[in-house]
Subunit: 155 residues, 2 copies
């Protein structure tokens, strides 16, 4: 049966069946940390190619990394900050600060600013202009940092 085949494939892929905004707190924390960590790998690739070692610049790799960052920014990670995720849950530790849940307008402002920079990075990356990408990489990194300064514990 078609449905069972889909379900099987989904389970085999390690999907929480019925994963959605109501995923359990432990999984929400796991997924948001995973999203940030994978994004940071992609920021690191751009940094390596436009800041640390410009001779290694590869337009396609940088554009692919920028696509990942923009897609993550636009993936609706807010759904991963549901009730019960303000503290450690199950095996998952979290570094989110209490302020994150108390200042939704400020979170929204910083999230919107980040999405704007990430979308711009994606756009600039398609041009292959390394200097422009470097400048926009800097702005994107600052938008990450702005959120961490307010809402992420240091350790």
């Amino acid at each position: 049966m078609k449905f069972n085949k889909l379900l099987l494939a989904a389970v085999a892929c390690g999907l929480a069946t019925g994963a959605n905004a109501q995923a359990k707190p432990e999984d929400q924390i796991k997924f948001r940390k995973a999203g940030y960590a994978f994004m940071s790998w992609n920021m690191g690739k751009i940094k390596a190619q436009v800041v640390d070692n410009p001779s290694s610049f590869n337009k396609d790799q940088v554009a692919a990394a920028a696509n990942l960052i923009a897609a993550t920014a636009n993936s609706g990670m807010g759904a991963l900050y549901g009730p019960g995720t303000e503290k450690d849950a199950g095996s998952q530790k979290t570094r989110v600060k209490a302020e994150f849940f108390q200042q939704p307008d400020e979170v929204k402002k910083l999230a919107v600013a980040f999405i704007k920079e990430a979308n711009e990075l994606q756009k600039v990356a398609t041009t292959g202009d390394a200097a422009a990408i470097k400048a926009q990489f800097g702005k994107t990194g600052e938008s990450c940092k702005a959120c961490h300064d307010k809402f992420r514990k240091d350790d």
Copy 2:
């Protein structure tokens, strides 16, 4: 100084300075698991909206999830299977099978097949045709499963 500002932002974002194909094995394992985990969250959102609960279908959310999956597929995760990552490293446990490193042609074949399905899912998702998305979601999930069956340990 511009460079220091960039570097500061990068460090503040938790980037390994100089993160690249030569990231240490522990980080490579962390990043690849993060990439798969975040992708599975996005597969789960599509599943929830086209399989489990079609009345919750939201075209934009599904398209955003498909963008994330395609961007992950095209991010060059092969770079995260470097020397030293065939076994646990530091705090990171891995479920990759030894066969992954012994059968590069088979890995490539399955990776290329997965990328093709993920790109098609991204394309189909822009149409908002829930039935077509459901069918392509199934094919994408099967391409995840094909790789897990061969190259990922069960626990």
